[in-house]
Symmetry: D2
Subunit: 367 residues, 4 copies
């Protein structure tokens, strides 16, 4: 079996001493970034990379030319009809026990239980385990959740806020790109009780086209996106459920979310308008951010009046946050920028993997 050989040809402790990792969904953009980061990580290495059946044996660097010279292994084609058990078994026999899923929800739902049963620790980059209640899935994702028993034990992997729980987590739900940026901006104020709940928090966001993945769809063609800005995914994008759940705000009533697409290939900006609780002002806001992120290596606090641009964090795992406060009206606006493929996907997955395994949080991650 091809994947057995691919996965089993080396033990976990490689000659270089790096721990092997299995990656599912290696042919997409998030998968590419995971592969790139693992290629330069001091403690982990990509040992098996899975893609669609039709990609079996194709070098990853042929699928992603930018990996040429740094990641030279072949993609393993995954037979999603009946081949999952064998693939997982082969990985386990090869000594692997860590897997990253950069796969669609349906495939993550099929893979995660098998991997957990085989003793793996799993970071899933899809939305399959982000919502705690299985009853939310029909409304927000359009399907009945196939593994509701896993939801209770899944840790929500917003590294800066969930870090403490990750050391023992066996299944980590990597946050969505929009929720990552929105929550890093909102949680300090929300947890400090600075947000007036009687007025909706309005989250406007603009994302790169890579946020939609490498799907071959007409609306993702270059000529459909170049030169254009547009809203999409309304009225209720699934990331709203995630933002609402993590902030404890009612989606559509206490928190609103408006995603947009801009002609950039990577990057995501959140612009959040909110009313401060009576009596709260600029100093309380600054204090809340500084307290929340004093020890957060990837959060760049720009301070009041200094606003982030997506280009400032391109290619890094950082989140840059700036804000403005208007004492006269009690309003604040918070702005956060991330690289959607790194802090919004692959970078945070590895940050979580570092935290899960006791490695330094910043190891192998561009700041």
């Amino acid at each position: 079996m091809r994947h057995r050989m691919a996965a089993g040809s080396e033990s976990v402790s490689t000659p270089h001493g790096r721990r092997g990792v299995a990656l599912f969904g290696a042919t997409g953009y998030a998968g590419r970034e995971v592969a790139r980061l693992l290629g330069a990580h001091p403690a982990f290495r990509l040992q098996a990379a899975f893609g669609g059946k039709e990609r079996d044996g194709v070098p990853l660097s042929a699928i992603h030319p930018s990996l040429r010279g740094s990641v030279d292994m072949a993609c393993v084609g995954l037979d999603t009809n009946g081949g999952l058990d064998g693939a997982v078994r082969a990985l386990a026999e090869g000594g692997l026990d860590v897997a990253l899923l950069a796969t669609p929800e349906a495939l993550s739902l099929a893979l995660a239980p098998r991997l957990l049963d085989a003793g793996f620790r799993v970071v899933d980059l899809s939305g399959a385990f982000r919502l705690a209640r299985s009853s939310d899935y029909p409304e927000w994702y359009g399907f009945e959740h196939g593994a509701p028993g896993l939801l209770g034990g899944a840790a929500y992997g917003l590294s800066e806020w969930s870090g403490g729980t990750l050391g023992t987590a066996r299944l980590v739900a990597n946050p969505g790109c929009y929720p990552t940026a929105a929550l890093l901006a909102l949680l300090p104020l929300r947890r400090a009780g600075l947000i007036d709940p009687t007025e909706a928090v309005v989250v406007h966001a603009v994302s790169a086209a890579s946020g939609a993945g490498r799907k071959v769809r007409e609306d993702l063609l270059f000529c459909e996106i170049e030169g254009s800005v547009r809203p999409y995914g309304l009225p209720r994008h699934r990331h709203l459920a995630e933002i609402a759940a993590q902030t404890g705000l009612v989606p559509g009533a206490e928190v609103l979310f408006f995603p947009h697409l801009a002609p950039i290939d990577r990057g995501l900006l959140c612009s959040i308008a909110l009313r401060l609780r009576q009596g709260a002002g600029a100093s309380a806001v600054a204090a809340a951010f500084e307290k929340a992120y004093a020890a957060a290596p990837f959060v760049r606090l720009l301070g009041e009046g200094s606003l982030p641009a997506t280009a400032d964090v391109r290619g890094t795992n950082a989140c840059a946050i700036g804000w403005t406060c208007d004492a006269a009206t009690g309003r604040a606006a918070v702005f956060s920028a991330i690289d959607n493929l790194l802090k919004g996907a692959a970078g945070q997955a590895l940050q979580n993997l570092n935290l899960m395994t006791g490695r330094p949080e910043t190891e192998g991650l561009p700041r």
Copy 2:
């Protein structure tokens, strides 16, 4: 005198029967679009085009290569130190009586009184006459208004809403690009009393780089903007004052405004979140839009759930408007897209000129 010859060499009624127009600020992006539109207008023609002194005698098509073949006249250098009176006099002697100002506020403030005194009708594309109260200028524009006596008589030229007043207006303040898109989306709901004033209306907008004009500044270089989305102009962009004044909402309290820059060369999108008045819902919203724009040739109502993209209106004077309503929470979101250089500047200026002079509203304007 050069400009005398340029301006005075033809009478108002040209051999082609088109009425001559003077354009100040011909070297910027809005000026370029005015020149282009006049080049193909059946009723008006560009007769004198003014720019900085250093451009005197340079063909407009050398300054704007895209005009080559359609606009071939030379730019007239304007001596802003003492040369304004002479320039205006020469134009008047040449028989002109219509002027478009695509100039900075300071120059518009110097030119408009002189032109009005000389009998001209003036459309000003700057912010110099957009706010009705001179006392607002120090706060929002940073200068004392030099011609407060003109503010009362200036018509605010949001064509779809001010059309009736333009027939007799002698000075028209062409709206800002952001206010144009925001007000076309907001006014139907506001005038119909559908907006709940107890919660702030949040206007989030994304603009092309050309919105900043053709200023030679480091932050407008290609490499500073390409691949990046960023907020700017906060906490209180001057267009907020304009939006607030026209809607009667208190800026910073009842209406908030967050402008952003995206890597596109033309286009502007407004995304507006608001709470509907108790009892108002999707049908009232649709009715308000349909009533407001039943006879508006440049407004494209996309309807509920259909969202505009800036590329859809590129190169046209149209404004595309779509919206979503959430009956459960009483929220609505309205989205409007324009070409910032046309409906947001030069196109609306000519639409206004058509209305001022009794021409068909759509004449010479791309739809």
Copy 3:
């Protein structure tokens, strides 16, 4: 039958007096531009627009949002398995006799004979009839030509050079985008005998992504093209055959061709290096261009040392040409820029239609 009703519901002479035109391939980018241009043409109007079966009944403005407000008809789904005869018959019964094909070669090969038999005059935007010898098709297009009998009678529609033959042509092969730009730059020098044939003419070209059409392919996704420049289609792009045939140069030996893709949505630049015949210099070059294009309304000669940019001709049917000559070495370089969707496709098709039907050459075309 749907298309019968669509096509037959109006006579050729509409109430507006504009002659009806049938468009096949209305859902692609070239088809969109044909539809847009016909929407504003004084003498022609789009009367039937065909697309794939799955688009039957869908408004063209839903397929191309930028057409909203200007082109409001529904797309007619074409059954390519057996439905072509009926579609053509219905059009003919509806009184139409002009058709534009913005279809792939295979469909053009199936449609053109049927349309010609039914008395139509046809402009084909594909490569199906561009090469005069059927024996060239296997090598350059990868198929045996299915209608070799039509090749002899097909006129090559490079408007500026073939204009005289179009008045009587029944089938016009609209040139490829690259050949249009390359030939407009080369033919004046070639016909004047100024090119030294002992050294290869090197044609280097950069095109917008829309040159590949609206194909839903991974390599045409936004994130695959944004921020990147790359060569493609080598070693022997089919447009080389066309350039060679029209110049009489041997492809790959006397003329070389290197196409590239840049992250722009429309525009095409050719940069051509060549050796001048002994004794020929800058004045002979300038004279050749001036003589060739003295009466060509869409060619903008920039002259020696003035170089075109694709943005200068965006949205127009113009071709801008500039050049440099080096007397010391006998080399010249010629640069030509077009909008690949207009002069390189839809615009030239209508320019040809104007010439075929005795209309003014520039009618309905943006300059």
Copy 4:
């Protein structure tokens, strides 16, 4: 003196054991990349960063927001009128002996002699020392060379070809971005005698806007470049002199060069057409490339028929090279892609610094 304190406050061997480096021209794009690379280099560290006088004391991360979090030092304002001697002396007293110049030619010409006199080893990223003959400067650079005595001793730092000479070089002229890509593609064939010199080698190239530096010029504004491709710098760009000198071909006769600008922020592609010497074919071409770059860690040979894209090497110091050969006509085309700011500027500068100081060639450089 400010720069004395800035430069002299630490010894060469820092607590981290990294050797201090002085950077002149830290405020431009190449300077930014040098600073970024030094921030993560294991053996070198940025110890003094100079910019214009008006930037004195401004944090580099305020000038380049993408450096925030990784490079936090302040810029030192350099008084170019009389302050150079003091600046160099202070650096030397601070124990530094390595300097990188990302400065305009004129400033490099002023700084290099002073730095060399003070015992520094210097890598200059400008064109000031790239041409061996001072007599070439008036023709190609428009000035008389002010330090002709240094030209003989300056090493041309095309790392893959000059590596052996750099160990003892005191002044290294870092190649231009175009020559880097062109020469890496040409030299293997030229040195192997595979190019037929009787026909011109035609080098077409397309560069990112950052190749022009961070100059505040109207033609470098976003809206002047977005959506457009254009040639520039003709007839004789100064990089032609550099390509000609290194290949021994006569500029304008035996080698031609046509640079173009595309709307990308980083990246450069060379496309080179040439005639192979009688008898040479695909296997000789492949052998020449493989021999030349067998031990070159930054050259990615894609092989015949595989063509590079600029995005493939973005953010790396790599050069990707592919080619095609036509046995029938004896022509070959070679394509090379680099990141113009890395392999074309800052990356190669550090690669050269590694080679000059006996460090591993790849140290601190992204592959």
